[in-house]
């Protein structure tokens, strides 16, 4: 059980890293892009780059604003 937990913690740290919000923004932006492309027929190629760069800025701002990094 302890080994499973440590493997899970390693996988989380490996993929998600220090700020889970960045991963959440990327996944949400991809989902919205897919919905726009397949349901609304909008070729929203600009959405993911905009969200990715905004997420980076947000994460950096959070990391440098308070005691947490």
């Amino acid at each position: 059980m302890r080994r499973l937990r440590s493997i899970g913690a390693f996988a989380y740290d490996f993929v998600i890293g220090d700020d889970w919000r960045v991963a959440a923004v990327v996944v949400a932006a991809l989902a919205l892009t897919a919905v726009l492309a397949h349901v609304a027929g909008v070729n929203a190629w600009w959405l993911l780059p905009a969200c990715v760069l905004a997420a980076l800025g947000w994460s950096l701002r959070r990391a440098t604003a308070g005691p947490r990094t």
């Binding site: 990327v26 897919a34 990715v52 760069l53 994460s59």
Partner: protein, 263 residues
């Protein structure tokens, strides 16, 4: 798209991780015993090669759109991690990774540990230190090799990029017989972070059903855009009060800085 960006990205990413693995291997070998250190390194390399050999071809069985969606998302998240860390270090908000102090820390721990023999390994501490160091640093490289190689349908080129990087770092380490503290790790991580984020964004959006203006040529705009915005964030953060370490230019990292526990 040619294989050159693929090989270069994997080469730089692999070189960064190989420098960190070399520090651990040197600490184990010079302070403990080379035989067990090499055994640990060899077993770790076999495990990493097996992961590439099994996962690499298996993932290509997925439809390209699914592969690009999943791998693009993972690469973008992974790349943003590297980029975030590199920017925080470049602006002094996080201490720089320092191979010299990491080496001294590992040597001190290795000298304090007792020698235990287990089966065919005469020094279990040296074996596990070397095995864990090479495996953990290598896993990030394996991830990049598989995701880039499979997406480009050119796993061989990605493996070649990684192999050249390991060979160059190992040869330099053998010649220097010291941790490669002067390698500009942070600048390399910054560059790789830009590439991973750009390619992840490109493939992820394609997998989600988007058609990029200009097709693959869109990368020629996307990569500089990510780089410019990242440099902009770096410039902005340099003006904010800092808590840890001192800033280093993105293009150049000093040899000795404060130590940090993470890579």
């Amino acid at each position: 798209m040619t294989a050159l960006p693929l090989v270069l990205t994997v080469f730089v990413a692999c070189a960064v991780e190989a420098v960190e693995a070399l520090t651990i291997v040197l600490a184990a070998g010079l302070s403990r015993q080379w035989r067990s250190t090499f055994q640990g390194m060899a077993v770790a390399l076999v495990v990493l090669a097996a992961v590439v050999a099994v996962l690499g071809p298996t993932i290509t069985l997925l439809p390209l759109s699914v592969l690009r969606l999943v791998v693009g998302a993972l690469l973008a998240i992974f790349g943003l991690q590297w980029l975030r860390k590199a920017i925080l270090r470049a602006t002094g908000h996080k201490a720089l990774h320092d191979e010299a102090s990491a080496y001294l820390r590992e040597v001190a721990a290795a000298k304090a540990a007792a020698t235990v023999r287990k089966r065919w390994v005469s020094d279990w501490y040296a074996f596990t230190l070397s095995f864990k160091g090479v495996l953990l640093e290598g896993l990030e490289v394996v991830f990049i090799v598989i995701t880039f190689g499979d997406n480009q349908r050119d796993l061989g080129a990605a493996v070649i990029g990684a192999a050249i990087a390991v060979a160059v770092v190992a040869a330099t380490g053998v010649a220097a017989r010291a941790p490669l503290a002067r390698v500009p790790e942070n600048a390399m991580k910054f560059a790789v972070g830009i590439m991973l984020t750009s390619f992840g964004t490109f493939w992820g959006a394609e997998g989600a059903g988007v058609s990029w203006p200009g097709s693959d040529a869109a990368l020629l705009a996307l990569v500089p855009a990510v780089a410019l915005v990242s440099l902009g964030y770096t410039a902005l953060l340099r003006q904010r009060p800092r808590g840890v370490g001192r800033p280093a230019p993105v293009a150049q990292q000093p040899a000795a800085q404060q130590e940090v526990p993470s890579s």
